[in-house]
């Protein structure tokens, strides 16, 4: 596949980091990932299986295996530091995969399309209530312009005043990079240190 044409170097000290790109279906997550990734977004069918993820079968399917497509990209930011960008699968029923993707992330960018604002409610709820990773909300300017004032968007999304709300053009690498920088700065401003804890280690041993 594509990314094998861009071998990572063999330095044993290279570390990786992760940012999650979330939002509703069709909001531009793959475009966002693709505009800064040094490889074409890798579309992988994660082949989630119930056995693998320890969740109950989906009630409406009766299937024990389901396929979830997710996109990710990669940027080598330093000779020994690689950043991965993971787009979340849009379908809300794959929350368990969101948990897996978010674990270990430095933060998330939630993309919003003001023409389909309701599609972002589920993602915002998830990061406000079910996840403890830092996040920012970015309105994707599809036509290069904002249709609404940011204050109006904040109100429509019922975002608290402390949530960082910004804009970006997912097609534009510079704009996308700026949104990522805003997230990293926001994470730096979070006073609570964030990383693996004892509980997590114990769960892994189980």
């Amino acid at each position: 596949m594509d990314s094998r044409n861009y071998p990572l170097d063999a330095s044993s000290l290279t570390i990786s980091a992760k940012i999650v790109i979330a939002g509703g279906f069709g909001v531009g997550k793959t475009t966002f990932v693709g505009s800064v990734s040094e490889v074409k977004p890798i579309n992988t069918e994660a082949w989630m299986t119930v056995a693998g993820e320890g969740v109950d079968p989906l009630p409406d399917s009766g299937k024990t295996t389901t396929t979830v497509a997710m996109d990710f990209g990669r940027i080598r930011l330093q000779p020994d530091l690689v950043l991965y960008l993971f787009g979340t699968p849009g379908q809300p029923r794959f929350w368990f995969l969101w948990d897996d993707l978010c674990r270990g992330a430095l933060g998330a960018v939630i993309l919003v399309d003001t023409r389909q604002i309701q599609d972002s409610f589920a993602a915002i709820n998830y990061f406000e209530n079910d996840s403890d990773i830092p996040f920012i909300v970015a309105v994707n300017k599809f036509d290069g312009e904002l249709d609404y004032e940011l204050d109006e968007v904040r109100e429509a999304l019922t975002l608290g005043p402390d949530v960082l709300l910004t804009t970006c053009d997912a097609r534009d690498p510079g704009s996308t990079s700026k949104a990522l920088q805003e997230l990293v700065s926001y994470t730096m401003s979070c006073t609570v240190s964030y990383g693996p804890d004892v509980t997590w280690g114990q769960q892994q041993e189980g």
Binding site: A10, W47, A51
Partner: protein, 118 residues
């Protein structure tokens, strides 16, 4: 990797892992895996899927990329890599999370993002 493609997809993938679904190591989708010292003889003793992973990891590769390249579920990749770690033949790189995204790492990420061609 042809031998992988030839294996019937009707096989239950978790048969490969002996039914185990939980890796013993902290393997995130972005966790990088590498082979510190490649051992061809050892490679020959591995089952095809593990062998393919071992070969891929000769160039530092993430868990997610391994899953994508081999079209093997993430959960299975994690268990198989975990086994290779137990055999002490692959190296698991730390991630930013390992260092609790301390200020130094976040600053280096920010610095790298600022240098990207716009």
């Amino acid at each position: 990797m042809e031998h992988i493609a030839m294996r019937s997809r009707r096989i239950r993938l978790y048969a490969l892992t002996g039914g185990r679904t939980r890796p013993r190591h902290h393997l995130l989708v972005e966790t990088l895996v590498s082979v510190p010292q490649y051992d061809q003889q050892l490679a020959g003793t591995l089952m095809p899927e593990s062998q393919a992973l071992y070969e891929l990891a000769r160039q530092t590769t993430s868990i997610a990329e391994m899953s994508a390249h081999l079209t093997i579920p993430l959960g299975v990749i994690r268990v198989l890599i975990s086994d290779l770690v137990a055999q002490d033949v692959v190296f698991i790189h730390p991630t930013g999370f390992t260092y609790q995204y301390d200020r130094i790492i976040l600053e280096r990420i920010l610095d790298g993002l600022k240098k990207l061609p716009a």
